[in-house]
Symmetry: C2
Amino acid sequence: MRTRPLKVALLGCGVVGSEVARIMTTHADDLTARIGAPVELAGVAVRRPSKVRAGIDPALVTTDATALVKRGDIDVVIEVIGGIEPARALITTAFEHGASVVSANKALIAQDGAALHATAEQHGRDLYYEAAVAGAIPLIRPLRESLAGDKVNRVLGIVNGTTNFILDKMDSTGAGYQEALDEATALGYAEADPTADVEGFDAAAKAAILAGIAFHTRVRLDDVYREGMTEVTAADFASAKRMGCTIKLLAICERAAHGGSVTARVHPAMIPLSHPLASVREAYNAVFVEAEAAGQLMFYGPGAGGAPTASAVLGDLVAVCRNKLGEATGPGDSAYTQLPVSPMGEVVTRYHISLDVADKPGVLAQVATVFAEHGVSIDTVRQTGKDGEASLVVVTHRAPDAALSGTVEALRRLDTVRGVASIMRVEGE
Amino acid sequence: MRTRPLKVALLGCGVVGSEVARIMTTHADDLTARIGAPVELAGVAVRRPSKVRAGIDPALVTTDATALVKRGDIDVVIEVIGGIEPARALITTAFEHGASVVSANKALIAQDGAALHATAEQHGRDLYYEAAVAGAIPLIRPLRESLAGDKVNRVLGIVNGTTNFILDKMDSTGAGYQEALDEATALGYAEADPTADVEGFDAAAKAAILAGIAFHTRVRLDDVYREGMTEVTAADFASAKRMGCTIKLLAICERAAHGGSVTARVHPAMIPLSHPLASVREAYNAVFVEAEAAGQLMFYGPGAGGAPTASAVLGDLVAVCRNKLGEATGPGDSAYTQLPVSPMGEVVTRYHISLDVADKPGVLAQVATVFAEHGVSIDTVRQTGKDGEASLVVVTHRAPDAALSGTVEALRRLDTVRGVASIMRVEGE
């Protein structure tokens, strides 16, 4: 075993970074045995050096992250700052100065993964980011390596813990969105400004990364269709229950049936209670993968938090260090195809539509005609009425999203349709 | 990209081998892109060369497996023969002649993994066996690599599809063991001689492999405590339901609380319906992992079958080929600790005990005294009686298994205890 330690620079020492530093210290012997050489924390770049950091030698702390990654003796840079800049510039500089990089930065990887991979390859270094998607759940490595001999056709994931907590609360207690969000905020599951979570931005970044890795192609953040879950109501959950479903905010990446294109989207959807994703509770994440040979797989675990994210970072650290010792690099970018990403209108899915309609003869016939005119086949209709007002719940068969949304537009123009109470896609069947 | 193909020898061409050959042919372009060089099926060793094998060039087929692995130009040997010999000798010969090995052979790895790893390392070759445990579910790689920076404390797995199918059927239909086994046999989920599955031998081999990898130590097949599930009854399921539980055949690998020893065992156990493993249906497998930093993870998917197992084999093939091209080897054996494996008596668990007792005053007091004398604390007691006969269901708190089984022995000796109807451990709480 080599005794000169591998030197690690840690960029960021918040919730995740401090856990990474703690485990590197307390589990140093295990890491040494697993890597084949000791690892040494050589520097920690922070914004506020005055903040007390338990267990970290103050002499290692610096505010000059750029100088740290430029030192030249750093073997691995761990980037847990988040955001685009200065993370991007620091990672690029790290590669240029001979370091490999472990990152937990989903926004940056979703936006600039291709360029960063190219820079890593150019300098013969590794770029690993298991922690960027679904926290501690091993997902990137299984997709990139375990399924490397298979063909993934579909990825269906609950990849945001905040929204899953809110939806689970609505499902189990009958609470409305605001009430459930307030509870999530009080318990620390939602941030003061929950926009990135509840509007699906966080999940969309993860969908872009997952789609790219699953289909060996390039999927940019802008390619991901996105709808948040702020308009999901208690009434939607009641409808879902009647259908034997629950509602989840899903990241869905699919290869088109003809194989020549892919899609990626984030939106709330009804899924059957019998689907393994339906029983994913609280802030847990889970990703369901359908592969040609492997069949249906699911990966489940905590999607966020300091310690779980640190676990993923340290798994990558061990891999990158082993590669470094073996003078090798791990599997790099695998986007060897350039499959077009189809727009949402071409996605084939099912709709669950609730309409408030006039309670008089002929309304159902009118509504059914609109569906037929748009080429959308109806699976089931449920009609309930009282006091001259009626409610019509229509569940369609599979059809292109454009045909379904065109149908809804036309329904809105009918005199007998007072309003469209809710529209939700139905997935996982 | 290098154009000289990597040469692959396939040992065995049954359900799994023929799928491996099929995918290597139909997905050749994808494999080439992912590996960085073409792979070529250079030979297929079979026992019965006369059997027609669709899609395999008859010129590649041989009955002389030894000559095939000795050719000297083989880069990777895929062993899907199963059993100890000739698989062991062929794998050893393969390493000696410069090939890396991908195996799906749980029995061999459980028995001789250490020696085979040593031979592989001595010759600078890889030994991969993702397919040996839980079929297509990426499990070995996540444990060895993704969690390499974490400390796994517990692995709780449904790793045998046949027995899960039988138990799920008993749970959902109220069928008895024999009836459910007959259905499993008729549907092809159970073999004509189901002993290896229903007596837990198959699961025990997987438990030995999982415990070794999870705890970085050596766990031999003989170290694994094993009880089959042939004595689980419909009445046990009724009892389980009353407790909000179901019954699964579990492989359980644990690190002792003090950290200085490990245990591995296979037996039927009650688990709460709220546990993610409880909803694993039919012949699916799932493995629940508890790690210090990552928390609770679960890996779910098909645990057997030609295509799923082939997916795992091909994932390993891609990894091994990449290593070969990079003139590196992957993470080898990681049993760097030599933790003692404690006997079953030292395992701390809970018992659910059903007793047939005389329906007269003082029986409960007598029974409770026996528990107290053995230092076993009672959690709940449920007593039901009619016509002079009564049934007593006792659920204990956690206690060493030796104390629990000592309690049961003493209960059997009580005059007022007519019989011990069932004993089952309670896990996953």
